[in-house]
């Protein structure tokens, strides 16, 4: 474990300690929720890591660079937005995937777009959104979020 890991664990422990000093019961409930949520997303997580392992042996960095590299220009973030916008899963699961792609020479714009589209677009929840707020609201928001994920990705690629 790195120094950053220890620092994060220390900060988390301090937060739990502070929470417990304010309200013991709520803190116990928080820890139970943490465990339950972790167990909930664990299968998905295992799948993501297994997928990264498989990519590592089957795909060459050159192939990933070919699809998502900076040589692709604006196409790379667009591919990333389409994939991120359609796929759904726990927000935390997309970060390891993004880092893997970045290590394999995907462009920063593509990875940033993927991270944003994964959480912000919500294609799967679209029917529920339509029933609450109407098609006009839901579809406008969906289209804007999809475009924005590409724009923000491009801005990040340009700045970093």
């Amino acid at each position: 474990m790195s120094g950053t890991d220890w620092a994060m664990l220390a900060v988390t422990a301090a937060a739990v300690g502070f929470s417990a000093s304010r309200n013991r019961e709520k803190t116990m409930k928080a820890l139970r929720i943490a465990l339950k949520q972790f167990l909930n997303v664990l299968p998905f997580f295992i799948a993501v890591f297994a997928m990264i392992g498989l990519f590592e042996v089957l795909l060459t960095p050159a192939q990933i660079q070919g699809w998502l590299g900076s040589g692709q220009g604006i196409l790379a973030p667009i591919y990333a937005a389409i994939f991120g916008g359609l796929a759904t899963g726990p927000p935390a699961a997309v970060f390891p995937l993004g880092q893997y792609l970045l290590n394999q020479h995907a462009s920063i714009a593509a990875v940033a777009t993927l991270l944003i589209a994964w959480v912000a677009v919500g294609t799967v929840t679209l029917p529920a959104e339509i029933s609450f707020f109407g098609a006009r609201f839901a579809l406008s928001r969906w289209a804007l979020a999809l475009s924005l994920s590409v724009v923000l990705g491009l801005v990040m690629g340009w700045l970093l």
Partner: protein
């Protein structure tokens, strides 16, 4: 059976990856084994960060309740309302479907469409996930991405106001399109 189908829907990737492994193992067994080992190592490297993330998720869930949000969502207008909306979006958690009833309640109380959009936009910021992002991408990337996401609420809101027209929120209230209370929070939510 119903539960199994539901589980498979949220965990679609499990089946996809399992199928991929079976295919690879049949043709190139050593590649499948290597892939599995690499996957395990990657998981091990992140284990401590994941503990941090989920403990923070738990703490958020008990301290940031819907009552807490409603209490702190003043009757601000204009830019201030958007800023408050963006702040609310940043701290709320759970799947997007889970916050629709909350947003619907806000609309019913007179919030304008832009505020709702600001909340939905900044909802993509996952405060408890920041340790994970920091660990994997570093300070520069994390701060820039989160900052841009926050700022994007102030771009999305006017654009949505434009797309929907001025009277959308009033019209939405008048037609009673909202479904508060009909759809309740889904169980076993995946999100942080």
């Amino acid at each position: 059976m119903k539960r199994f189908v539901k589980w498979s829907k949220t965990n679609w990737l499990v089946w996809a990856v399992a199928a991929a492994y079976v295919i690879v193992a049949a043709t190139r067994p050593e590649a499948a084994a290597d892939g599995g080992i690499i996957g395990l190592q990657t998981f091990g490297e992140l284990a401590a960060t994941l503990v941090t993330v989920f403990v923070i998720v738990g703490l958020f869930q008990v301290w940031v309740t819907e009552d807490f949000i409603m209490k702190h969502l003043g009757e601000g207008s204009g830019f201030r309302a958007l800023a408050i909306g963006a702040g609310v979006g940043t701290i709320i958690h759970g799947p997007l479907v889970g916050i629709f009833p909350l947003l619907d309640a806000l609309l019913a109380k007179g919030a304008r469409a832009g505020v709702i959009v600001a909340i939905v936009s900044t909802w993509a910021i996952k405060l408890p996930m920041i340790p994970l992002e920091l660990r994997l991408f570093g300070w520069q990337f994390t701060l820039l991405r989160e900052g841009l996401l926050f700022a994007s609420a102030f771009v999305m809101a006017p654009l949505m106001d434009l797309a929907l027209g001025k009277d959308w929120a009033r019209h939405h209230r008048a037609t009673g399109q909202g479904m508060t209370g009909i759809i309740t929070r889904p169980e076993g939510d995946l999100d942080g």
